[in-house]
């Protein structure tokens, strides 16, 4: 008869059948569906973008229908939430000078899609369909003069949008352990 002291070990072995971690055998393999459901970060080249599409015109309708205007203003300006559209009157010599306005400063249009998808509307995050997110992205890019009024945004076209700030941002340092903040900078 096996010793009772071995019982916890037997239970441990039985419970570890599904464990997958390399060294400790802890954790389990997620299903493809679990990964798909959580995998919302969109790369600059848009591999994770879902099927769907949206036009500028549809975007304007979604903007009004889903309450964007309540916080961000009627056309992305003069609301209580952050500005979404650059000041068209303002002459700039560098895209950086438009200010911190996501649909104009972001180097990639995918970031606009990603942020609307993950973070908007406030308190109803995740409620927009993929088509609605494509349409809102198209509308905001159009209002900022990045795309034309007849362009359609989808998984193919969105990553191809040439944002004015695409190459105007400073690269980050190639960080390695123990390195100073910036070689040559004494502080």
């Amino acid at each position: 008869m096996p010793s009772l002291r071995l019982l916890p070990l037997l239970v441990f072995w039985a419970g570890s059948v599904q464990a997958q971690g390399l060294n400790y055998g802890v954790g389990r393999t997620p299903t493809d569906e679990e990964i798909r459901a959580w995998d919302i970060a969109i790369s600059p080249t848009g591999e994770e973008l879902p099927p769907g599409s949206g036009t500028v015109e549809e975007g304007e309708q979604v903007y009004l229908r889903t309450g964007c205007a309540t916080c961000h203003g009627m056309a992305g300006m003069d609301g209580i939430a952050p500005e979404l559209v650059r000041d068209g009157e303002r002459e700039v010599t560098h895209p950086w000078d438009y200010g911190r306005i996501l649909p104009i400063r972001s180097p990639y249009a995918t970031t606009v899609w990603d942020y609307i998808n993950r973070g908007m509307p406030l308190n109803q995050e995740g409620s927009l369909s993929a088509d609605e997110v494509y349409a809102l992205t198209a509308y905001l890019l159009y209002l900022n003069g990045v795309i034309g009024g007849d362009e359609v945004m989808d998984a193919e076209t969105l990553p191809m949008v040439e944002m004015p700030n695409r190459d105007a941002w400073a690269p980050l340092p190639d960080w390695q352990p123990g390195m100073p903040r910036l070689p040559g900078y004494p502080y």
């Binding site: 802890v26 997620p30 990964i35 919302i40 972001s106 990639y108 960080w175 502080y187």
Partner: protein, 424 residues
């Protein structure tokens, strides 16, 4: 020893009398807390089941966090944005969990997460995608380390009065969890995996790109803070600690890490972009920094004579190796005493014995870290990238510190003993 026993017996007898004869709950029969006869003790039921179970601080200790950064918390949308810790009241290097500064990426509703339901996933460019329960994570080898967290926007402004306003967006805690490298090795990072995207589960699902070199070096997936579970405002039940890097990298309510092959340009990443490479480099690791917390802005020295000047020093690059103090506005510097161990990427306490002669004085501290990086004056930091520029500039064009501000904080002591923020 013998003389103590009668006291203790007397005390216990009196305690029994209170417990048996008085049911008003007016006096706390707590061993070791016998008040002197001349001290007026107010009613507070420290023996309530709730306070026996989980204690609170004295009602006379009123130090609190304050909303900060020009936006209320909660704001008009109910979001928590920036909340600063009361450094002027802190003793030692551990920020109490209830007073740890709280910033969120866009402003967030702090979520309530049942740890039994919480899951953490690693996937992307790995050999074995893995999903962990909190119980799974607690089975794995753990580490306990002291680390500060600081918001990139933690900067002193002329209108700030107290050190809570000038520096209150940094705190230090004892963090317990699993090294991220342990978890990544469980999953097996593919050669192409050069970055991770770490993501929270709160309403906005805040996500940051972090270089793999940092992820494998010293990042921590934390479930413990100051000896108990991480607090909700700090990411309960699970958060990422990215030691020494700016606060926004330290993803709270951590649900997912995706191993990727490039900077992913998340919304948080976008907010971090800079136009100039030097600016971008300086907004990565926190620079060598320190501040005197006593005496500090808004405080009042009651009289001339002896004071122990105290403060905190830290660096995002490693341990603090030296702290100096000046009492004459930087004219001369003297070594301060580093109190206790200087942990890497942790607040480090320093002190300096000072006898105030009653005349106007300007108190400063200066941190040097193990790499030899030295905390600059405000003038040095502001002028470094603008040769010939003279601090503080003009009212129309003030000379500002580029990017993250780790410059020296001066406190001016007036002859009446009042202490003021002395930055221009």
């Amino acid at each position: 020893m013998g003389s103590r026993h009668p006291d203790r017996r007397d005390f216990l007898k009196r305690g029994a009398a209170f417990a048996g004869g008085l049911s008003l709950g007016a006096v706390d029969p707590v061993i070791g807390q016998t008040p002197p006869a001349d001290q007026d003790v107010e009613d507070q039921d420290w023996s309530s089941p709730e306070l026996i179970a989980y204690g609170e601080r004295s009602r006379y200790e009123t130090s609190v966090r304050v909303p900060h950064g020009g936006r209320p918390s909660p704001d008009a949308f109910g979001l928590v944005f920036h909340v600063a810790t009361p450094l002027q009241d802190q003793v030692g290097i551990i920020t109490p969990s209830a007073l740890h500064f709280t910033n969120t990426t866009r402003g967030a509703i702090i979520p309530n997460i049942d740890p039994r339901e919480h899951r953490f996933m690693i996937h992307g460019l790995v050999d074995r995608p893995l999903i962990f329960t909190m119980d799974d994570l607690k089975r794995l080898p753990s580490v306990t380390r002291l680390h500060f967290v600081e918001c990139a926007g933690n900067r002193s402004r002329p209108q700030h009065v107290t050190v809570q306003e000038t520096h209150g967006n940094t705190s230090c805690a004892e963090w317990t969890g699993v090294l991220l490298s342990t978890l990544l090795n469980e999953a097996g990072v593919k050669d192409a995996g050069t970055w991770i995207v770490a993501e929270g589960v709160e309403s906005v699902k805040g996500a940051s790109s972090i270089p793999m070199a940092k992820a494998m070096d010293d990042c921590l997936v934390c479930y413990g803070m100051n000896g108990e579970a991480v607090r909700p405002q700090q990411g309960h039940p699970l958060r990422l600690l990215v030691p020494g890097f700016e606060g926004i990298f330290n993803v709270k309510w951590l649900r997912r890490i995706k191993v990727v092959d490039r900077y992913y340009m998340t919304y948080n990443d976008y907010g971090h972009l800079r136009r100039e490479p030097h600016d971008a480099a300086l907004t990565y690791q926190i620079g060598p920094k320190s501040v005197i917390t006593y005496p500090s802005g808004g405080q009042q020295l009651p009289d001339r004579g002896f004071y122990e000047i105290r403060g905190l020093a830290w660096s995002g690059t490693g341990a603090v190796s030296r702290v100096e103090v000046s009492t004459d506005g930087g004219g001369s510097w003297m070594d301060a005493e580093i109190r206790g161990a200087a942990h890497p990427m942790a607040h480090t306490a320093f002190s300096f014995h000072w006898t105030w002669d009653g005349r106007e004085a300007e108190l400063m501290s200066r941190c040097t870290d193990e790499l030899g990086q030295v905390q600059p004056t405000r003038a040095e930091a502001a002028a470094f990238w603008r040769p010939g520029a003279v601090y503080p500039g003009t009212p129309d064009e003030p000379l500002r510190v580029t990017g993250q501000d780790n410059s020296i904080q001066p406190w001016r002591v007036e002859s009446d003993g009042s202490v003021h923020n002395a930055i221009a």
